[in-house]
């Protein structure tokens, strides 16, 4: 009996491309192009998706502001309230807020002006108030609010009602194709499985997972394992990958296999020369993803890319129970990881060309769930980080924490967003080079909102 373990499997799947060159003819890219040593105008967007719905109420807390004070927060949060003395103070003009106590690194980044906070942003069809929400009019209220899968799709597609087949990251990459002419690698990379965000109409992402613990290599990308020391499996597979019986799904699957093999072969060798010296925290899954992102960015010239988009999935933040302990650990990992990543972009000399931002399918209720946690809600606070960020201040409108206020959809502190995902994304897209005229291609409902640029990027 042959006993195989997960470790055996992983060992097999991370064999290097060099040893597995039998399928090299499958590569779509062929020989690498030669590129100049420098590429003017390099820019990158990194989306950190806080899966599960991060609790923004305990991430950014009003301490003493013209609008409200800590006591109002504590009243709404009840047993989930963080002690005021533990909060990490940050200023927004004359207002004092506090970051979660496990985020000292992000406090530093904010105070240095390299990180901004966008308050109460979320999924919107158009600006809406409490009466509008209660109208249940699907023409103005996003569909399937509070559902993880639906809201993740809507966040990533920027299409708040209807079924989408691609996302705003992919559509941005579609529009920036001319900046990546001659590239030998996709402009979008995800380090874990990506939902709609990474797929465009013409752009498909590469998955570049972090290295597998205990195994060599700069990534965990797999290449096709040689079979039976024979050429016939390779030849047969090649024929089948070209097999066209008219079924679109089969063709789509064939394309994915070919891309997977091609991407791994292109990147694996290049990353052997990557030498990021910035220390990243260990045992931190987001840090591992962001180190991989930094490594891929370090070979951007060889890849022929002047515009790159990355997607990191991190969580789960779905804290219906044990929220205080769970979120403390996750936000600590987030804070430490983004600090290290910012350091890596400085090391690479591209800090001002890289903008990192957070997203999450929804926020959570201010009012506790009754099981030491909070429930699915709507609007949320997010972070934007990078050398190009006009940081050290808030954007958007911080909501009232009065239960049942005009900002509250259902008397539990379910924030009705006052800034739309489309506005958030459009600001990032414009910085990335998307023209105003093309914004509606990426964000179909951007015209429903007063401003398409929130101003947090220079």
């Amino acid at each position: 009996m042959i006993i195989r373990t997960r470790r055996d499997f992983l060992r097999d799947t991370v064999r290097t491309a060099g040893a597995l060159g039998a399928l090299s003819m499958l590569s779509r890219f062929g020989q690498m192009n030669a590129f100049a040593a420098s590429q003017p105008g390099y820019q990158a967007l990194i989306c950190i998706f806080l899966s599960g719905g991060n609790d923004g109420h305990n991430t950014v807390i009003p301490i003493s502001t013209a609008q409200q004070n800590y006591s109002l927060y504590a009243k709404g949060r009840q047993g989930l309230a963080l002690a005021q003395s533990t909060l990490l103070p940050i200023n927004n003009g004359n207002d004092v807020y506090g970051l979660h106590p496990s985020m000292p690194e992000m406090q530093t980044l904010y105070s240095k002006g390299t990180m901004a906070i966008l308050a109460n942003v979320g999924n919107l069809v158009q600006p809406i108030n409490r009466d509008g929400y209660n109208s249940n009019n699907l023409a103005i209220v996003p569909g399937q609010l509070f559902s993880h899968s639906d809201q993740a799709n809507q966040w990533q597609s920027a299409i708040p009602n209807g079924i989408a087949s691609n996302g705003w990251g992919g559509r941005i990459a579609d529009l920036m194709q001319s900046k990546n002419a001659g590239a030998v690698f996709p402009p979008i990379t995800n380090s874990a499985d990506c939902g709609l965000f990474c797929t465009g109409q013409h752009t498909f992402p590469a998955t570049v997972p972090p290295p597998i613990s205990g195994f060599p290599g700069a990534t965990g990308m797999a290449t096709i394992t040689g079979v039976q020391n024979s050429t016939s499996p390779t030849a047969g597979m090649q024929q089948l990958l070209k097999f066209d019986n008219g079924l679109q799904l089969v063709q789509a699957g064939n394309g994915i296999v070919e891309r997977g093999n091609s991407y791994a072969q292109t990147l694996t060798g290049l990353l052997q020369s990557s030498n990021i010296t910035t220390a990243f925290p260990a045992a931190n899954p987001l840090a591992a993803q962001l180190l991989t992102v930094a490594n891929v960015m370090s070979v951007r010239t060889q890849l022929g890319l002047t515009r790159q988009i990355f997607f990191c999935d991190f969580g789960s933040f779905d804290t219906h129970g044990s929220q205080l302990e769970t979120q403390q650990a996750l936000l600590q990992q987030l804070s430490q990881a983004v600090m290290a990543f910012y350091g890596a972009t400085q090391e690479l000399g591209i800090a001002s060309s890289v903008t990192t931002f957070t997203a999450s399918e929804f926020g959570r209720t201010l009012n506790p769930s009754g099981t030491d946690g909070s429930d699915h809600a709507w609007g949320n606070h997010h972070f934007i980080l990078g050398g190009g960020v006009e940081g050290g201040k808030f954007y958007g409108t911080f909501p009232s924490l009065v239960l049942g206020s005009e900002n509250d959809a259902n008397n539990r502190g379910t924030l009705i967003p006052t800034t739309a995902i489309s506005q958030y994304g459009a600001t990032l897209a414009q910085w990335f080079g998307v023209s105003n005229a093309n914004l509606p291609i990426v964000f179909p409902n951007i015209g429903n909102f007063g401003s398409s640029n929130l101003g947090f990027l220079a």
């Binding site: 499997f9 498909f204 597979m237 089948l240 994915i256």
Partner: protein
Amino acid sequence: MAGMVRAFGGLMTNQNYFSTDMEQDVFTPASVFNYYEPDYGVPGTTLMGGEFQIFSPNNAILRTNEVSNLFSQWGSSVQTYGPGTTIDLTLFLPLAANPTTLVDALDLTLTHGVMPAAMKTAIVNAVAANTDGNLRQVQLGCYLILTSNYYNVWH
């Protein structure tokens, strides 16, 4: 993975090592929504195909290699992969003398006897070109069918 194993007499239990190799343990999905959404749009098409959400380029290669590990590497026609799970290719060995007959049998076993002619021809040719013995020929036939996207989509 479950379908592949069951086609050759194996069982899928929570004791199978390979049930977690793809990080999609059949019995312990991360959420009530399982591993993918039914309305996921297939990249490059206007079709919906939920399974494609987890069929990323890298996962596609991992899956190919998993098939290789399960069906193409070993020196015995009977392999056990954990309690209750045995993949047995013995019945197919005598059929390898005629690659067309072998592939017809695998077609009935894996693709319900409706494999497209061009696909079958490609596999028969590959099996016929393999001179490493009947076990390797059977394994190769299984490997090519099970790694094909025709099989993926069918199942």
